[in-house]
């Protein structure tokens, strides 16, 4: 009787129609297409990306088409769209377009060429810095969210602190004391490895009990580090670090990346905490999947949406930070043009040659705005709760 019943129910079931197939991507396109500002942001972003990439090829090499470093002192502070004075220029000094599209600066360098070169700087700084911060953020947030309940033993903390202290002492030339401390640490590791294998039945002494007690949970440790990092006014932290390091574009990318991962960490942790308790993660555990697979295959794809959004907005703020640093003279070293240092050079001639400040300023504004619009559009699409109902 049961078989008959089941047969009936299942046959009925198979024939019950499934809804038309629509992938997540199609859903995404449908919702994103309705958001005109986000489309505009995406369009400007693509344009900027193309400009930056072509700009890199047009302005680099031994004989670039647009030479951002070509000094023509007789042609200085020419306004945008000015024709070059062909009589006073060598043939190779004439700009490629036959016109100073964005004018020239106080050394007669072509601002258009310099803007092209700066676009690449802005793009790479934005992407690499945000790439670094997102990687750190996902790593830290993932650990805090997934393994947060695990505890760190007191001796591990003391040991790590001692190692850092020892290395620090070696670096500042107290070599002997530093090496002694590092050796002590290694001896302790060796000792505790040995002690683990001996099954000691006696009651543990007080010191050992204290050392082996659980100090903090991983979650607490990471989130307090995040809080501490957020306490520093980040722009001044970056200024200090950049002042200490040799000025180069890579240092700036790394420093911006290292000081902006905290937001991502909080996002990822929050997502992991809620996803970890979901039934599908429990099912994955019950199937016997490894932690690695659960984290990267089951949790991460569900946690990535807010990270993408904050990354897009993060790119805008990284570009802005780089421009600010260059403006203050802490950024990319001078012969190389960035939007920030074009702006900075231009400020001395703001009344004689306003285009020198106006053009890079507007470029920064447009790019940052487009990233923010795109990011907010993404957020609206990926978070159905924020979606407007029409």
């Amino acid at each position: 009787m049961n078989m008959v019943e089941k047969k009936l129910s299942n046959d009925f079931y198979i024939e019950s129609p499934l809804p038309p197939k629509r992938t997540r991507m199609q859903e995404f396109q449908r919702h994103f297409g309705q958001n005109r500002l986000a489309i505009l942001g995406l369009f400007i972003f693509i344009l900027f990306f193309c400009c930056a990439v072509t700009g890199l090829f047009l302005t680099s090499g031994s004989r670039p088409i647009f030479d951002p470093a070509m000094v023509r002192l007789q042609e200085k502070l020419r306004p945008p769209l000015a024709k070059p004075n062909l009589d006073s220029l060598q043939p190779q000094e004439v700009p490629a377009l036959g016109v100073y599209l964005m004018g020239t600066d106080d050394l007669g360098r072509d601002v258009f060429a310099r803007m092209l070169q700066g676009a690449w700087v802005s793009l790479t700084v934005g992407f690499v810095a945000v790439g670094i911060s997102v990687l750190i953020g996902i790593f830290m947030g993932g650990i805090a969210g997934y393994f947060g309940q695990h505890h760190i033993r007191t001796d591990h903390i003391l040991f790590t602190l001692a190692l850092i202290l020892g290395t620090g002492l070696v670096i500042v030339n107290y070599t002997f004391i530093g090496i002694v401390i590092i050796l002590l640490c290694l001896a302790y590791i060796f000792y505790s490895c040995l002690a683990r294998h001996e099954s000691t039945e006696k009651e543990t002494p007080v010191l050992k009990a204290v050392l082996h007690s659980n100090a903090v949970s991983v979650d607490t440790l990471i989130m307090r580090i995040v809080d501490i990092m957020l306490c520093f006014p980040s722009f001044f932290l970056i200024l200090t670090v950049v002042a200490l390091l040799p000025a180069s574009i890579y240092n700036i990318m790394i420093v911006i990346g290292l000081t902006s991962w905290m937001g991502t960490t909080r996002f990822v942790r929050a997502e992991f905490l809620s996803l970890r308790e979901q039934d599908f993660v429990a099912a994955a555990k019950a199937l016997g999947l490894s932690n690695f697979r659960i984290i990267f295959r089951h949790i991460m794809p569900n946690a990535i949406a807010p990270v993408l959004v904050s990354a897009t907005i993060g790119i805008a703020s990284a570009i802005l930070t780089e421009a600010g640093l260059s403006f203050l003279g802490f950024g990319v070293p001078p012969p190389h043009a960035t939007w920030g240092n074009i702006l900075s050079n231009g400020k001395n001639f703001i009344f004689d040659a306003p285009w020198l400040t106006f053009i890079p300023g507007v470029a920064i504004l447009i790019v940052v705005l487009s990233f923010n619009l795109f990011g907010e559009g993404l957020r609206d699409v990926m978070n159905p709760k924020l979606r407007e109902r029409h």
């Binding site: 049961n2 078989m3 019943e5 089941k6 129910s9 299942n10 079931y13 198979i14 499934l18 809804p19 197939k21 629509r22 992938t23 997540r24 979901q278 039934d279 599908f280 429990a282 099912a283 994955a284 555990k285 019950a286 199937l287 016997g288 999947l289 295959r297 089951h298 794809p301 569900n302």
Partner: protein, 336 residues
Amino acid sequence: MESKNKNNHSILRIEGLKKYFPIRRGFLQKIHGWVKAVDGVSFEIEQGKTMGLVGESGCGKTTVARLILKLLESDAGKIIFQGHDIRRFSEKEMKPYRKEIQIIFQDPFGSLNPRMTIGQSIEEGIRILGNKHATNRKERLETLLSMVGMSSDSSDRYPHEFSGGQRQRIGIARALSVEPSLIVCDEPVSALDVSIQAQIINLLKDLQDQLGLSYLFISHDLNVVGYLCNTISVMYKGHIMEFASSEDIFNHPHHPYTISLLSAIPDPDPDIKWHVKPSNGHIGDSDVVPEGCKYQDRCTIAETACLKDKMVFEKVRENHFVRCWKAAKNHGSSPD
């Protein structure tokens, strides 16, 4: 006779299983007390049989399920699965047993990964069994889907495209993908409407016949449990109150809590007058556990002795145990 062959027949035996959750309060998160979610639960599931675990919300049913699957670390007791106490097993030692015990969840919406297609979700399990070839995996996937009554073209769709009943079938297919011998069904039909409930229950029953599965069936619906289960454990505040075969629970209930639960089952016949034998009040705060019998504050037959005495599991008949001295005594004095 059955009790002698216990070890040969039982697939899972739980002995004195305990799980206490700390209540932390204040700035330093000091432990303030304990919620005794599971407090010395013992039962046994025979190979190829179904045991029902019933009880009201918050009595610790789901916690028991999670302890058995080792999704939660238990505090004391034994979980003997196929003759091995797996309670203290490390993740590595657990590896060969992981695939033997699977779970079906109550919530069909949360139990499937929204970013994975149905095929991908089920294939996670097929992969565990070490099926190397993609074509073999595909075949196995189609077999699994047809076993649970789904068409194979649903495998590249996402969970949000399916109804609750369909998702529950997919959840069952995923559990079956690793060829388990025991499936813990954590209220698998509670979130479904009645017609779909019947489909899923019949599906579970057929799968048991075909594959020789054992079930731990957790529910608060006594009708469903009575239809599907061979034995039933009635749980209240972390304790098993009564354990007996399905017929005994329905025909000769002894514990006042079981009697009260049974009397609350609505009868479809409108002519029958419905006599609910109520409990007094409702389930209290679990962190204020009275001494003596856990059911004393709601019991209709409680005496002063119930406030002090430790509860003992008393045998009233072959394979029928009651955690109530009074019910056992009444039965002893006047055997039906």
